[in-house]
């Protein structure tokens, strides 16, 4: 791992991070002693079985959960302050578009709340609709779009206010494989074009390997990091890279990491 001081290129930094939920069955250690540095422009995937704390970690970065131990900084700030500074856009597992708003209206939602002018709202909506390949769909209502298109609209919504960080919590988990492949490819293009830092939670090994520059393997009870793999794949990745030897080797290492962290349960 890298040194522990925050450098200019560091976007997310966790040191000795722990998060314990108090439940009626006693404390649950969702995260324990998590150390991680994410640099600007990284595409970081968090992979692990359910209960390994990958979503909790992402939510802690977004200040939706609050760590009980250790330190966590986002853009050098406390997560709460980073949120107020609009440091990140968050994409949930479900698109979560408001059914009473059109696609354009949904993308405007964060812009309205953040107080952008009407003219700028319109301009930004057009821009992000183009980014996710949904030009001309602004006037449609969510139910008129397929699941994959809805999820693209929700990515557009997260991009609308130009945050440097994009946090995605299993965004394609509910979609079928074919749609997922295409969206993965598009996400990589988007990432290349916008140079965002992306945190991406998944439980698909091929998805994690295909997308990431850094793969964080996690294991449950307590939720912790068992391996951090720096991908050796080039940044330009056609879909058929998944048949390459390098890809298969990285996937193998991820699988080993998952198995090691999980005992005999896999």
């Amino acid at each position: 791992m890298k040194d522990t001081t925050t450098t200019a290129g560091t976007v997310i930094e966790a040191r000795g991070l722990g998060l314990t939920f108090q439940t009626s069955d006693g404390p649950v250690h969702a995260l324990k002693d998590v150390n991680l540095t994410v640099d600007k422009g990284d595409f970081v995937s968090f992979i692990g079985p359910s209960g390994c704390g990958k979503t909790t970690f992402l939510r802690a970065i977004a200040a939706l959960e609050h760590p009980t131990e250790g330190t966590l900084t986002v853009n050098g700030m406390e997560p709460d302050a980073a949120r107020q500074a609009r440091a990140y856009g968050y994409v949930f597992q479900a698109a979560g578009l408001y059914p009473w708003r059109t696609i354009a209206g949904n993308i405007k939602l964060p812009l309205e709340i953040m107080g952008f002018s009407k003219a700028e709202q319109k301009e930004r909506v057009e821009k992000v609709l183009a980014l996710v390949d949904l030009e001309g769909f602004g006037k449609k209502f969510p139910w008129q779009l397929s699941g994959g298109m809805q999820q693209r609209a929700s990515i557009a919504r997260a991009l609308a206010f130009d945050a440097d960080i994009l946090l995605m919590d299993e965004p394609f988990g509910a979609l079928d494989e074919i749609v997922r492949d295409r969206l993965n490819e598009e996400l990589l293009k988007l990432w290349a074009r916008t140079e965002k830092t992306i945190g991406f939670v998944t439980h698909s090994i091929p998805e994690a390997v295909y997308l990431s520059t850094k793969i964080v393997v996690m294991s449950p009870r307590p939720g912790r990091i068992t391996d951090v793999i720096e991908s050796t794949l080039p940044r330009q990745r056609p879909l058929d890279i998944r048949d390459s030897r390098e890809f298969i080797e990285i996937a193998h290492r991820v699988r080993e990491g998952l198995r090691a962290g999980h005992g005999d349960e896999v």
Partner: protein, 287 residues
């Protein structure tokens, strides 16, 4: 069109049952009259008489229809015998009461959803308020308001609001809480405050719940307004019409007023249904 036949069949069955009940309930009077006059009556004569008495125990459908038609169309609308006049008096109190009740209900629901203290304290009172018979409250409201010089529409509207706020509170609390954790988290990531959350998420999400509540509450408003006309001897309104009918044994008048109230309620519910469809379609929530 397919649905017309079953509706007509049910309606026909109700009317037939009603006629049968009319003959049965009113026959005692006919037999008593015949016995007093010392004559025998055939079954045919009994039927003919029971369907056309002046003060029947149960008026026949055609008598009620006649009374209703006479009340609605047979009088000048300013006449004290016009159901349009009385209906308007009741309707105006209903609408004012409905507006107050809906406004109060929404405000209470917003308070309950946003404030834990209100959540714990208001709901039990709201429920308790509805367990007290409105007939017990109505005279007190009338008396209290009369003592400060308010009579007529306002006290009736208050009684009407008393009945109508409750369905709105219950429906709106449910509706305002209908957004799931993910939708609330999403707004949190935008650093949205309570006001934005209410305006952009909770209120629009609660619309289907609101309209369901409004349909119940508008009918309750009408009941409240009518009940408000019963005590203190009001001289106008459908309630007053019911009351004077029962004083003088004018059963046909009572039934005509009842049907006028039912038609009014059905009309109000239909208007709300129409607004609901229009609103939800404009919001893209009706498929």
């Amino acid at each position: 069109m397919r649905s017309v036949l079953p509706i007509l069949a049910v309606l026909g069955a109700i009317v037939a049952l009603w006629y049968a009940a009319t003959v049965w309930l009113n026959s005692q009077w006919t037999y008593d009259q015949a016995a007093r006059a010392g004559v025998e009556v055939s079954f045919g004569e009994v039927v003919a008489d029971t369907l056309n008495q002046d003060r029947p125990v149960l008026p026949a459908p055609h008598q009620v229809a006649e009374g209703l038609w006479d009340g609605l169309a047979g009088q000048k609308v300013t006449s004290k015998r016009s159901l349009v006049y009385h209906g308007w008096v009741t309707l105006s109190a209903t609408l004012v009461g409905f507006a107050i009740g809906t406004g109060l209900g929404i405000l209470l629901a917003v308070g309950i959803v946003h404030n834990r203290a209100m959540d714990m304290s208001v709901m039990p009172w709201a429920i308790a308020s509805q367990t007290i018979p409105i007939l017990a409250i109505a005279p007190m409201v009338i008396v209290v308001f009369a003592s400060v010089g308010l009579t007529g529409l306002i006290p009736k509207a208050i009684i009407s609001a008393y009945l109508s706020f409750f369905p709105v509170v219950v429906g709106m609390v449910k509706g305002l809480r209908s957004p799931d954790a993910m939708q609330l988290d999403l707004l949190k990531t935008y650093n949205a405050g309570g006001w934005d959350t209410l305006r952009k998420l909770r209120l629009p999400a609660s619309m289907p719940y609101l309209f369901a509540s409004l349909k119940v509450s508008v009918a309750a408003s009408l009941v409240g307004a009518i009940v408000g006309e019963l005590p203190a001897g009001a001289t106008s309104g459908l309630g007053a019409r019911l009351l004077s009918g029962s004083y003088y044994g004018q059963t046909i008048q009572i039934w005509a007023a009842l049907f006028a109230a039912a038609i009014l309620a059905a009309g109000l519910v239909m208007i709300i249904g129409g607004i609901e469809r229009g609103t939800l379609r404009r919001m893209g929530m009706a498929r």
